[in-house]
């Protein structure tokens, strides 16, 4: 599905939708590319944009009490929308212009799942989330909310 990008003659362009959860030490504890495989070049760019967006999140998260921060950063046609939990876990979504309410709803649902994972006494704040059920549910939520 092409979302507002300039396709020439109906050629489908890959849309961008990457979701990352960043924990303490600014390390990602979970990441998923929700649009399927993409070329290495794009992968590096997306990781870079997400990492750079962390600075913008750090600025924004201390001046509001809201969990959902909406769009915090842009790079060309890519936007990063952020959500921060009370425990300072940062959810970042790299996208090309999705509906903010849909994103907020997605983040809130993932927050429920995240809470269950981090309450596990065997889970440490810096360890990656490898639970397959979590992954499956996140992908399902993304598909429902963001298409």
């Amino acid at each position: 599905r092409c979302l507002g990008c300039r396709c020439k003659g109906g050629v489908a362009m890959a849309s961008t939708l990457t979701f990352v959860i960043v924990g303490q030490n600014d390390q990602p504890v979970y990441e998923v590319d929700l649009t399927g495989p993409k070329e290495q070049q794009a992968q590096y760019l997306h990781q870079f944009v997400l990492h750079a967006a962390l600075d913008a999140v750090d600025e924004a998260m201390w001046i509001t009490k809201e969990l959902h921060l909406k769009a915090v950063d842009r790079f060309n046609n890519l936007m990063v929308t952020a959500f921060v939990t009370p425990g300072c876990a940062r959810f970042l979504l790299l996208h090309d212009g999705r509906n903010d309410d849909a994103i907020k709803s997605f983040f809130t649902d993932v927050y429920d799942l995240y809470l269950k994972i981090m309450l596990n006494p065997l889970h440490t704040p810096t360890s990656r989330i490898t639970n397959r059920e979590f992954d499956r549910k996140v992908r399902l939520l993304a598909k429902r909310a963001l298409g």
């Binding site: 201390w62 001046i63 969990l67 009370p86 981090m118 006494p121």
Partner: protein, 158 residues
């Protein structure tokens, strides 16, 4: 004190247990609040610990929350009869060891989790109106916290 070789190590162990609990309690209690909000300001966070975390753990709010007179980065949360200390008698050979270190760890976990790293410790303090010494949880915030608070204040004024 079978597994710790000194009171310092015992303190550390209790603190670490409490820390993990604190991290999780922060997220859970925040989630259960009527309106889900974060607490980006120091005072909000301390009040949350005093009025939400304490009742959750001990059935009543903490007895006192004060800022140290001399230091801007030091705060004290006091409990006149801390549950963790109520039924423990500390041998004299343990010196100044305070079992409230466990609760201090919980507080440290909550503060660190919310982005306010601090050194937190439990101390017995004589209180003129109380027969037993009260327990005070002393919180000393890292300089980064105070710097960030100052930065935010400037942003708000500017």
């Amino acid at each position: 004190m079978d597994r710790a070789s000194s009171t310092v190590e015992l303190d550390d162990r209790l603190d670490r247990v409490g820390y993990d609990v604190g991290l999780r309690m922060l997220e859970l209690l925040s989630y259960r609040e009527r309106v889900m909000r974060r607490k980006p300001e120091v005072l909000d966070m301390l009040r949350f610990i005093h009025s939400t975390a304490w009742p959750h753990m001990f059935g009543k709010a903490a007895d006192d929350l004060q800022q140290a007179a001399a230091a801007e980065d030091e705060y004290m949360i006091s409990d006149y009869d801390l549950l963790a200390n109520r039924f423990i008698s500390v041998p004299k050979s343990y010196g100044a060891f305070n079992p409230g270190a466990l609760v201090a760890g919980v507080v440290r976990g909550m503060l660190d989790g919310a982005g306010f790293p601090a050194r937190v410790s439990a101390h017995y303090v004589e209180h003129r109106d109380r027969p037993k010494p009260i327990t005070t949880i002393l919180i000393k915030f890292e300089p980064t916290v105070m710097q960030r608070q100052a930065h935010i204040e400037n942003l708000k004024k500017g």
